[in-house]
């Protein structure tokens, strides 16, 4: 590089100016980028979380950049020293991947006003869980007259050719298989019993959907009448008038933590922390428990009302009793080989 007088002068001026006005370098800095999920997540976060964050941060600029967990990880991985995202949102599987690849900044627990109020399962110093996703039994009340009570009901011969499941690509599919294995004596470390049960389920299977979204839409077509399903996905269908009900099985509804993380090397760590604080706050979580969002809260101080109280739990104690939490660290270790086995064996 040629160093001439003019260049030297500009550099010196710039450096001097940056020293004199430290705010100047922030003018170049980008707004806080929050990678939420697409669809109803984005809607809920835009309508409730972002306004709360703006209020708490004195109108700091924030951008929602909805994308899949895998894309979040890829984008951060591609530019580790200057990540384009400040806050990530993850399902349990990808969260462990992100932590394993050292993409996550520890959450400053000691500075947080709400962390201690979270139920213990939602506390994680690598990134707390502001929301739960809940998986239970879904059925069409027009065709399934006796509401199911157990995962075992899916094997009921009455439902021949009417049961839907998803493959193991999704958190839902994998978590459900683990639960089925558990019912038959297996565990997160050993799902052989689950695969054996899947084999026996084949006559009942009407559909193995590619993802939970596709599974939920099959109720509209009458393709399936009963399936494992995501509480929130079902609420959206129900609101549109599709005949579908959600029930927590007696074995316990599967609860997945959706965790929120500060990205390592983020230039907006302060703001990222504030956004997460807002997500953990009882105000935001309370609003999100109301329709149309019906998101299950993790802050023990949030009262559960309405549909959540009716079909899931009235308070944290009941929630802990009725929910099943899974060990995704163990699940992740063998998930690849399960997916491979599912690919090979499950053909209907």
């Amino acid at each position: 590089m040629m160093i001439d007088r003019r260049r030297l002068l500009t550099s010196a001026l710039t450096l001097g100016a940056m020293h004199a006005f430290p705010g100047l370098s922030y003018a170049d800095a980008r707004p806080l980028v929050f990678a939420t999920f697409t669809g109803s997540w984005e809607e809920a976060h835009k309508a409730v979380l972002v306004p709360a964050f703006r209020k708490a941060s004195g109108d700091a600029p924030v951008v929602l950049d909805p994308m899949l967990s895998v894309d979040q990880i890829a984008k951060v991985n591609a530019a580790k020293s200057n990540p384009p995202i400040d806050v990530m949102l993850h399902d349990p599987g990808p969260a462990l991947v992100a932590i394993g690849q050292d993409l996550v900044e520890p959450f400053p627990v000691e500075n947080s006003a709400y962390y201690k109020d979270l139920i213990p399962e939602a506390q994680d110093p690598n990134g707390p869980a502001p929301f739960f996703q809940v998986v239970g039994l879904t059925y069409n009340p027009d065709t399934v007259k006796t509401p199911p009570t157990s995962w075992a009901d899916l094997w009921n011969p009455d439902y021949k050719g009417r049961v839907g499941i998803t493959n193991l690509n999704s958190t839902l599919g994998t978590g459900w298989l683990v639960e089925v294995a558990r019912m038959h004596g297996g565990s997160e470390a050993n799902v052989d019993a689950g695969f054996k049960a899947l084999e026996a389920l084949k006559p009942n299977l009407a559909a193995v959907a590619a993802n939970p979204g596709a599974l939920a839409t099959l109720y509209q077509q009458g393709q399936i009448d009963i399936s494992p399903g995501n509480f929130n996905a079902i609420q959206i269908l129900k609101a549109r008038g599709v005949p579908v009900e959600f029930v927590a099985p007696k074995e316990g509804a599967i609860a997945f933590k959706t965790t929120i993380h500060i990205v390592k090397n983020s230039p907006n760590k302060e703001l990222a922390f504030k956004l997460i604080e807002a997500a953990l706050s009882p105000e935001v979580q309370t609003t999100l428990t109301e329709p149309p969002y019906l998101i299950v809260p993790t802050n023990a101080k949030v009262a559960m009302t309405g549909e959540i109280a009716k079909v899931l739990a009235k308070d944290t104690d009941e929630l802990k009793k009725k929910f099943v939490f899974q060990d995704w660290k163990t699940i992740n270790q063998q998930r690849a080989s399960w997916i491979e086995k599912f690919n090979r064996d499950i053909k209907i």
Partner: protein, 289 residues
């Protein structure tokens, strides 16, 4: 014809210059990422630190992976064949039809392109479902007592893909068949050839460029149609795009996913090359006879 082929020689020189912006875009946004993909595929471990051909060996020695590749290529062949069989008569009709009817045919062929693939695919879910249009019609006619399973089957998928990709077949065919001088058929007839003979010896060889172009486009679109494959085919029918997605997205095994893409690309290129060789041979044979 010969003189027309030589004359535009000068024109192509200007054409290359004008193509430079596109070529640049192509190089930056296609060639470079492809090179990166290839680079990634040459690693043995999931985090891409150890060099090696392990991913290729893993795929090519695994009967299951090979069966996924085979199933995908077969699916493409089935869809292409169905498109050709259904699309050729439409293109043929287009040439024979009057001006007004031609416009209608073009409109009908183009119409699906104006709606998104997702919408078209969802329409097929409604048609093929347990309480879908076909099943409820058959049931009300008393032809079946329990609904047929059509959604999430290979047959259902082939039909849906054929409809979704049909314009890609029909448009090149219309162009190619439209260029055929209708007098040739009359000439053939006056020389004593019957309808079938005229079709197979005159019309079919002359429409070969359209068939090749249509088949190539349909084939490539059908085997890579991730959305239609996963929505109508379901989660238990595994084809290359879903296999790739699974490895890259769910399992984060990027080098293996990259190797799958490269193998898929090579396989598709081989098929496309086969198409064009067949086409050229057919044309040479056509000229010779």
């Amino acid at each position: 014809m010969k003189s027309a082929a030589i004359a535009p020689g000068d024109v192509t020189r200007y054409g290359l210059g004008l193509a430079a912006p596109l070529a640049l875009v192509f190089a930056v946004f296609f060639i470079a990422p492809l090179a990166q993909l290839f680079y990634l595929s040459l690693h043995n471990d999931a985090v891409a630190t150890v060099w090696g051909l392990g991913q290729y060996v893993k795929f090519l020695t695994d009967p299951f992976s090979l069966s996924v590749l085979g199933a995908t290529l077969l699916l493409g062949a089935e869809v292409t064949l169905l498109c050709l069989v259904l699309g050729y008569p439409i293109a043929w009709l287009h040439q024979r039809a009057g001006h007004w009817l031609q416009t209608v045919i073009i409109l009908i062929v183009l119409l699906p392109l104006l709606t998104s693939v997702v919408v078209r695919t969802f329409a097929w879910i409604v048609i093929l479902g347990r309480q879908g249009i076909i099943n409820s019609t058959l049931q009300s006619l008393g032809l079946i007592s329990t609904p047929l399973r059509m959604l999430y089957t290979q047959g259902g998928l082939v039909v849906a893909l054929a409809q979704v990709q049909m314009p890609l077949m029909v448009l090149p065919l219309i162009t190619a068949i439209g260029r055929i001088d209708t007098n040739l058929a009359d000439a053939s007839a006056s020389l004593g050839a019957g309808h079938w003979r005229t079709f197979f010896r005159v019309i079919l060889p002359l429409s070969m460029p359209g068939i090749i172009a249509g088949c190539t486009l349909t084939y490539a679109a059908a085997i890579t149609a991730f959305i239609t494959q996963s929505l109508v085919g379901g989660g238990q029918m595994l084809f290359m795009p879903m296999y790739l997605y699974q490895q890259a997205s769910t399992l984060q095994n990027w080098p293996f996913a990259a190797a799958i893409s490269i193998i898929f690309l090579v396989a598709v290129l081989a098929i496309v090359a086969l198409f064009s060789t067949l086409g050229r041979r057919a044309r040479i044979n056509g000229d010779a006879t």
